[in-house]
Symmetry: C2
């Protein structure tokens, strides 16, 4: 479960007052935040506490993550001259704290650690818009008006993701997740033409490492097949798409991750249980399903609900006969 | 094209400094704002300048529409006691200005006027959340925790929509559009169980009027069939869903409306032309397609682009032979 920590009292007790980038830069703290929900919930894998803008911030693009707002860019990416601000990532020099966090975690965890990177489109959308957007209009304008520059931008962001993920795996991560959180703003034509090549470059750039590669987004109902074809082993399915329909779209050789609506987890247990069973039953007990929420845990979620949810999933024996 | 006015200099010249509810309450102004894009673009139908919270504001629920934010509710709907704040709408008494605007417009327009109402779910989401939301978590919590109260709330909102739409048609509107803008936040199970019955009540409540009924939403790829089954004659398809896939989902007897990405309209004409032709070609020249944007016009849109877009659609002769 992504962002599972932020609903925990023990998280609020240690998180401090800095930004998320400040917390990520402190390996002991970042490792502890990663571990808290693992201890609490007994999940089967841990996801590194990180943020998709970590590499671009680390190479000095001028990124801050404002609480309650999200990533804010002091000088957004708007022209060819801005490419010079995107030098290659040298993980051991630029993000040593990420690697130290991974090393601490893989020393302590008895379950796999999932490494973390932002996908080229979603990182680009932050760099181009300058702040979180509902329309992605500057991003789409750049993509259509200056495709050559767009592809160069995405190529550099793909290189950053590859370098970051390779370094995380070298430090001990046993799987990776590529977050293309906002790719669902695109239609399939634009996704396939303008985004998929760079995401494919990321997946191909880590293929030799032999770790499972998870591809995540929301509002991606029409993109699931393409997101699988980009080179993922697992594709996230948000709650809008019934899980069996999602499995059909990604094809028989790709696993799915999802897809309980995080907002449901604010309801009482009976409601959560029924909704979780609907998800599980739609998969029908087949292999190739990683149960998860369709998006991050909401901060208001009651931790005891998530405890029971994990118990339910672990005890699930397949669809009940009716 | 919805919200086509707000990109026009002639709109900004007359709009004034009040809220949208202030402008809607002035029939001469509201009629002029409705007419401006019709004059400029030569479209084939006009959509009434309105807002989905007009009826609930008119019966005194305590709604303001803050510029740049959206509807804000002074005391959100949270318990059974709040039902008393939702009395039936008496359109001639509560919203005489809406009917006067419709009468002015039907006297001046040579094309059909489309009446306007918010769908029960989307209006409820504003009343329950209290302000625009990304998660709809309070709304979903109410729906799941207290279904009896939820259904009573939606039933009253359905009655408001029926009363408002009937009065608009009686005043001269020749079609209606029901805006369920945020229904796409729901999975198909919750939509079918908790939302569709109230939307069906709205469509059934105006069926005897014999006017075309358009059902609009975004992020509704998985809901299109249900939105058709709710009783619509036309279903809006946002740009994420290829139009031919959208037609399949609504079935052969239902028309579709859409589905150019509004953000594309900020690009240069060549880009817009290619994207619009992709939409038109996917329909393949069949009847039963109302060309439109997949969502409202963005304020930054260049009006000359929309002029050329309307010309392109009017001159379209079917897919080019390749």
């Amino acid at each position: 479960m992504r962002q599972a920590g932020r609903s925990l009292p023990e998280y609020r007790a240690i998180r401090g007052v800095g930004t998320i980038l400040d917390a990520i830069a402190q390996p002991e703290l970042a490792a502890e935040i990663t571990l808290q929900p693992v201890r609490r919930y007994g999940v089967d894998a841990a996801i590194l506490y990180s943020d998709i803008v970590v590499p671009v911030a680390a190479i000095g693009f001028g990124v801050d993550v404002k609480p309650g707002v999200g990533p804010v860019i002091s000088e957004p990416f708007r022209s060819r001259a801005d490419l010079a601000r995107l030098r290659p990532l040298e993980p051991e020099l630029d993000t040593p704290y990420v690697l130290e966090t991974v090393r601490i975690l893989t020393g302590e965890l008895a379950i796999p650690l999932i490494g973390f990177a932002g996908a080229p489109f979603t990182v680009a959308s932050y760099l181009v818009e300058g702040s979180p957007s509902r329309t992605y209009q500057h991003t789409k304008a750049l993509m259509h008006e200056d495709p050559a520059l767009w592809f160069e931008l995405l190529d550099r962001l793909a290189d950053l993701a590859v370098a970051s993920l390779r370094s995380q795996v070298a430090a001990g991560a046993q799987a990776v997740q590529l977050f293309d959180s906002w790719a669902g703003a695109l239609d399939p034509h634009d996704y396939e033409h303008f985004v998929m090549p760079a995401s494919r470059k990321v997946f191909e750039g880590i293929a030799d490492l032999g770790v499972p590669r998870i591809h995540f987004g929301v509002n991606t109902g029409e993109l699931l097949g393409l997101m699988a074809d980009a080179g993922a082993d697992v594709v996230g399915v948000d709650w809008r798409v019934p899980l069996d329909a999602g499995r059909e779209r990604v094809g028989p050789s790709i696993a799915v991750q999802g897809n309980l609506d995080p907002a449901i987890c604010l309801a009482s247990w009976d409601v959560v249980e029924q909704a979780a069973l609907r998800v599980l039953d739609r998969n029908g007990g087949r292999p190739g399903h990683i149960f998860n929420l369709g998006h991050g845990v909401l901060p208001e979620t009651d931790p005891t609900i998530l405890e029971r949810l994990v118990e339910l999933v672990h005890g699930y024996q397949g669809p009940a006969r009716s």
